[in-house]
Amino acid sequence: MNNKTEEKIASAGRRDFFKKTATVSAVAATTMVAPSAVMASGKDDENIVEEVKWGTTLGEECNKYPYGMPAAYEHNVVRRTSALMSSAGDMHAAISMTPIADLKGIIVPNGLHFTRTHNGVAHVNPNKWRLMIHGLVEKPIVLTLDQLKRYPSESRILFMECPSNSAAEWKGPQFGTAQFVKGMMSCAQWTGVRLKTILDELGLKPEAKWMLAEGGDGSEMSRTLPIEKVLDDVMIVYAQNGEALRNEQGYPVRLMAPGWEANLCVKWLKRLEFGDKPWYAKEETSKYTALTASGKAIQHFYALETNSIITSPAPEKDWKDLKKGDLVEIEGLAWSGYGTIKGVDISFDGGKNWVEAQLKGLVLPKCWTRFSYMYKYEGKPLLLQSRSYDDSGDVQPTVNQEKGIVGVECVYHRNAIVTWQVTEKGEVSNVQIRS
């Protein structure tokens, strides 16, 4: 075979490729099962025996995108929202969900971190940004961003969860994907200044009991935190996974209260005031209070309880391609705002019997933790559940255990066990085991 012939074959292959990609785009969903079909029939896989476009053409210039983008084929891995997550379908006071079943490890890429806004995403000019720390301190200060960054920094990998995560599920299952069942959360490495480092210099007055944290966006989102937490592990953060915070996460600076409601991690942070009494801001009275069956509401509900969800399988990551006898990994995420995940149990029968899963990867406090269990698939119907527990003694409750104490009108802090129903065909759907 001479060079000319080879070229012809190669270019024919390319033309073929273009024709085929056109077909692929049109019927994307069905072609996803193509590779295993090819292998099963014993035919040669054209992706192996023929040249592929990316192997026979010059790629893009190395720095064509000075800020890199995900592969075009990943364009469906995005945050999603719903009118149910907003006021009247208005997307300025709304929330978007992280595609948790599509992500690996414990770090959420910055562009996929869930977002909650009360008055739209503010775009702050970092040169005009100021942080004021005042009230019951000996030395009040104003900081520019550069000055804040002069303080010694620390980095922590921490989950961030909206206390409304799963709020649509109190009265029964409503959404059909892991993204919407538990996507109001993410995990990232956050870098900033420990607030105690600054306060040690400013001198907190002994009568200071509470801190008001106020945002600079149109909603002036503000919350009150107790000093004990502030002096333990609260940070003022300006970096997320190595780069500056995204606008959606409060660029240039947000508060970080590890393990606590993301709502307390005030974005576009503008002001910290120390006082002897709590403030009763709007988002800690009319909202973000958990109305229980007693008719009274839990206020200052801080830490997110121990929680978990199986991300593989999930409704959007089903088992339809599995054959009986396949050994497959069940994988998921566990987290707790009280401390560190100690372990996760898995049930196949809707919570009657349980086995211990194993943790894998980094196991850090107040951080997403991966769990794993090797399972021999038998094509039987399952009611798949995960149940986490942590080093503070907290154990994830069943739906009945949780609603037995707080009822079904809480809105916030729902951490009941999630159930995936797996059918004989490997389809996965969101169900609940409850009375």
Partner: protein, 391 residues
């Protein structure tokens, strides 16, 4: 030699042995993910010590940070400009006043579009007024006990009159965050007027006095407002024992907020909720799935649909893939795209001649730049792009 080797081997063995021992000792004392901690955090969780440069899995710099002191003292005017929050005790409330009647007019013009007439709700934005404020013998707002455990039951209504604990919150929130699209556009007098109107719609009395149209609200009167559900929240956070109350509450999480149990075999899970105590757990499926999500669900690994609105022209795309290697810089001797004089010289020959050269090859350039898949029309499109981008 042998002796020396043996000595070395012995030393090596001792070292290896001691390393193994110390590693073993370290690993039992420090299983990954099991960190030294003590109970008693204010949120009910554990507290991890920072000791000797170690905090859980993290190391930290143990050097003193005393004396790190960036930033400056704010001026009195700066603090005054930003410190505009107000607490239930009235600290921080500004001077000013406004009547229910003025508030009515403002509300109709600026608020009713979202919050509904008289603050009665509508269109999905928060309902501000309405709901039944009647209380039971324990002082609990009765309708707040509503639990939608069966279809057709009423939701608890969380309005200013039935749910909010303090009216100062209403004032500060309106002033800071409303109207929604134009926050901070109202004067303090207007905010007092709107606060008065909303309180009046909730039939709030101040010092036993009903708020009629002529009622004028100011700082002193706002501080006196006692909302019906003031005591509807727990744990109690007020007073010097506030933080301690919070800590005690979260210390008993099993009782106060609910907790699971690590049952492993033949576990029973009947309901203990109000009105359904002892009912066995059963499978509940989605009745009406919320599928209306944005962007719509799609999970394929396909290419995004092509749009005509893209900023990159067909000519530029073809140029990028087939011509830029040589025409994107001066090194290859080809006229560089962006070099106006080089392209002016090329185009002196006329488009027809340039097109023929490009199709057949010229100088160091192979026919069609080496990509014979390109049609003659494609070549023309590319040249037009290159000329256009070099003016």
């Amino acid at each position: 030699m042998f002796k020396l080797d043996r000595k070395l081997i012995t030393i090596g063995m001792t070292l290896a042995l001691s390393t193994t021992l110390s590693v073993a000792a370290a690993s039992t004392a420090c299983i990954p993910g099991v960190y030294k901690s003590k109970p008693g955090a204010i949120d009910g969780g554990v507290i991890y010590p920072r000791e000797n440069g170690v905090y859980t899995a993290y190391r930290y710099n143990t050097q003193s940070t005393k004396g790190v002191n960036f930033g400056r003292t704010p001026t009195a005017n700066e603090i005054k400009a930003w410190d505009v929050d107000a607490r239930p005790d009235g600290k921080g409330l500004p001077d000013g006043e406004g009547s229910v009647e003025d508030g009515d007019e403002l509300f109709d013009a600026q608020c009713a579009v979202c919050h509904g007439d008289f603050g009665g709700g509508g269109k999905g934005y928060p309902q501000l007024a309405g709901g039944n404020q009647a209380k039971d013998k324990n002082g609990v707002v009765i309708t707040l006990k509503n639990q939608r455990i069966k279809p057709g039951m009423d939701a608890p209504k969380r309005t200013v009159g039935t749910y909010w604990p303090y009216a100062t919150t209403l004032f500060t929130y309106i002033r800071d965050a409303m109207p929604y699209a134009h926050p901070k556009s109202l004067t303090n007098d207007e905010v007092y007027a709107l606060t008065a109107y909303i309180l009046a719609q909730n039939e709030i009395k101040i010092d036993g006095q009903e708020m009629d149209d002529e009622y004028v609200l100011n700082k002193e009167k706002l501080m006196k407002v006692v909302l019906p559900n003031k005591d509807g929240f727990y744990p109690v956070i007020d007073g010097p024992e506030g933080p301690a109350n919070v800590k005690a509450f979260f210390a008993d999480r099993a009782k106060n907020i609910g907790m699971g149990t690590r049952c492993m075999k033949d576990c029973k899970d009947p309901s203990s909720g109000p009105g359904e105590k002892g009912l066995p757990a059963k499978l509940m499926k989605i009745k009406y799935e919320m599928k209306d999500v944005v962007p719509p669900y799609a999970f394929g690994k396909d290419l995004p649909p092509e749009t005509d609105a893209g900023s990159v022209s067909k000519g530029e795309k073809l140029y990028d893939s087939s011509c830029k290697l040589c025409h994107g810089n001066d090194t290859m001797g080809a006229p560089r795209v962006g070099d106006a004089s080089a392209w002016a010289a090329v185009m002196k020959k006329g488009m027809d001649k340039v097109l023929v050269n490009a199709i057949k090859g010229t100088g160091g350039m192979p026919p069609k730049g080496g990509n014979t898949d390109l049609s003659d029309a494609d070549i023309k499109t590319i040249i037009e792009y290159m000329v256009g981008a070099s003016k």
